[in-house]
């Protein structure tokens, strides 16, 4: 009898794609699920949250393409996001470079190696309730990124939560650096990888993305000259020329728990500088705190270096004038002697 009814139902559904309401007859019930390996696995999907998601206007079977009739008696295959999110798709799914970039990431590598904890698309974007990152209720929204990454990276989140970046984020400064700003979103790579934004060569550019941004830094009330000054410093020049052992931003500032110099726990607090510089320079003592860091010689804020620089600038100019004048005078004297000889 049941079989007959199913066949009849199936027959009725031929040619029409099932509406979501049919799916939700079962999957919309909160206690709907199956027993698997002695554990209850929920198969509930909130109709309300699904219809609020960016995929809310699609039908379930557009993704679950192997479900032709409802109820289905076989277990549907796992849905791949790449069914739609591929270059040249006809349903208008945004592609950009994200899926491609993900393939290079340490996450994708771990997943391929069979790590059950490695995240794929749905780990961050959710399965049924995908929302645009610009939606403040999305877990991929900037404000929610630290919580999202922190679900797995607990230690790093703990450290980051002490930082000035997180404090600013909590205070509503959405421009403050979150995990993805430094680690990249889809192509997360370990710092040891030269392609990583956090490789020794990459880290300066990564920090400079924000710290050389005049508008952003003005809003955050943070000086903007540091990246430029660094690139003209000994460390910066050495690093630029491939000496990766030279100090980069993180060598002195730390990384997850970055704090301003005014904070006594900061490695760049004047009291902690001897220890911080001492990591590389064994004789560093409190002398290293006497003087400014990240100076641009042509700016008054550089202090004594500004005066040395300014002296040399004008003195060199004066010398240049003197030397050229001397050549001009000497040549005129020579021409005069030559004329005198001819006369």
């Amino acid at each position: 009898m049941t079989a007959l009814l199913t066949i009849l139902l199936a027959f009725l559904q031929i040619g029409s794609s099932p509406q979501n309401t049919r799916c939700f007859l079962c999957h919309g019930k909160k206690d709907f699920g199956v027993m698997e390996d002695g554990k209850f696995q929920s198969l509930y999907v909130s109709p309300k949250q699904f219809s609020a998601s960016i995929h809310g206007k699609f039908t379930c079977v557009q993704c679950h393409t192997d479900v032709k009739v409802i109820p289905h008696f076989i277990r549907p295959q796992k849905v791949s996001c790449l069914q739609c999110h591929f270059e040249g798709n006809t349903v208008g799914a945004p592609v950009k470079w994200m899926p491609e970039k993900y393939k290079d990431s340490i996450h994708a590598k771990a997943l391929a190696e069979g790590n059950p904890n490695a995240p794929d698309c749905e780990t961050c974007h959710t399965t049924h309730y995908v929302k645009s990152p610009s939606d403040s209720t999305s877990q991929t929204n900037r404000r929610n990124i630290p919580d999202l990454c922190g679900r797995c990276h607990i230690k790093q989140f703990e450290s980051y939560s002490k930082s000035i970046h997180y404090k600013a984020l909590e205070n509503g400064m959405l421009g403050a650096a979150v995990c993805t700003d430094c680690h990249q979103e889809h192509d997360v790579l370990p710092p040891s990888d030269p392609r990583s934004a956090l490789s020794a060569e990459g880290v300066v550019r990564t920090c400079a993305k924000c710290h050389a941004d005049t508008l952003l830094m003005a809003r955050a009330d943070v000086p903007v000259q540091q990246p430029e000054a660094y690139s003209e410093s000994f460390h910066g020049i050495a690093l630029e020329n491939g000496m990766v052992k030279a100090a980069n931003c993180t060598s002195c500032h730390g990384h997850h728990d970055i704090l301003p110099a005014s904070d006594p726990n900061s490695p760049i607090n004047p009291k902690n500088l001897p220890k911080t510089c001492g990591k590389c320079h064994p004789h560093a003592d409190k002398n290293v705190a006497k003087g400014k860091v990240h100076i641009i010689p042509s700016e008054r804020s550089a202090g004594i270096v500004f005066y040395v620089y300014t002296f040399f600038k004008w003195f060199t100019l004066a010398v240049l004038v003197f030397l050229f004048a001397h050549i001009a005078l000497d040549l005129s004297g020579f021409i005069r002697r030559k004329h005198a000889r001819h006369e």
């Binding site: 630029e240 004789h283 400014k292 010689p297 004594i304 060199t316 030397l323 000497d330």
Partner: protein
Amino acid sequence: MNDKIPRFSRSWRVQHMLLMVSVLLLVISGFSMKYSETLWGKILIFLEGGFQARGALHRLSAVLLFATAIYHLIYISFTREGKREFKSLLPIRNDLVDLKNSILYDLMKRAERPAFGRYSYREKIQYWAFFVFILLMFLSGMVMWFHDFFFAFLPKWAFDVSFALHGGTATLVILFLVLWHMYVVHLSPANFPANSSFWHGYVSVKWMKENHFLEYESMIRDSEAKHAEGKED
């Protein structure tokens, strides 16, 4: 009369050669770092064998220059010839008068070109400029080379000052080398294309009369006196 007059002793020429080689190497290896972001800076660094080899070359040439400086200091302090040469390089009031008169002559305000002794204001400016430059470069260079050692004595700003001083002085060195030294001994009409006395030590009588007339005169007097003495014996 022999047309060749000895002007520079072998010791002088060796010192000049050492100075020339070490300063050239220092200039090349130094400026290739200062302009390492430019194309020719990168080319120079490549020719030097990479960034670290460039640093090694700079330090090695610095050691050569330092040795030359020590040699020179011993030369002017302890040898009879060196003491005499150094004495004639000391600036005197008359140098200012010579400079003034030279300028007046060049400007056609004076009929006679001033006559110079063994070293005119030109050579003296050259010598003392480099004396001061090398001293500054040595001090600031030592602070940077041995920064780990100096961290124990010097505040952080002293290293920044050394860096600025080293770069600023380097530019002055280049200016003096090209616009003063290169002009005076190579490009100036009196010496064009080059005054080769730095190599063999000899100059011509004509050149001596034109450029160091007073010294020429005293040489003639000395040789005449010697000649007279020889006759008496």
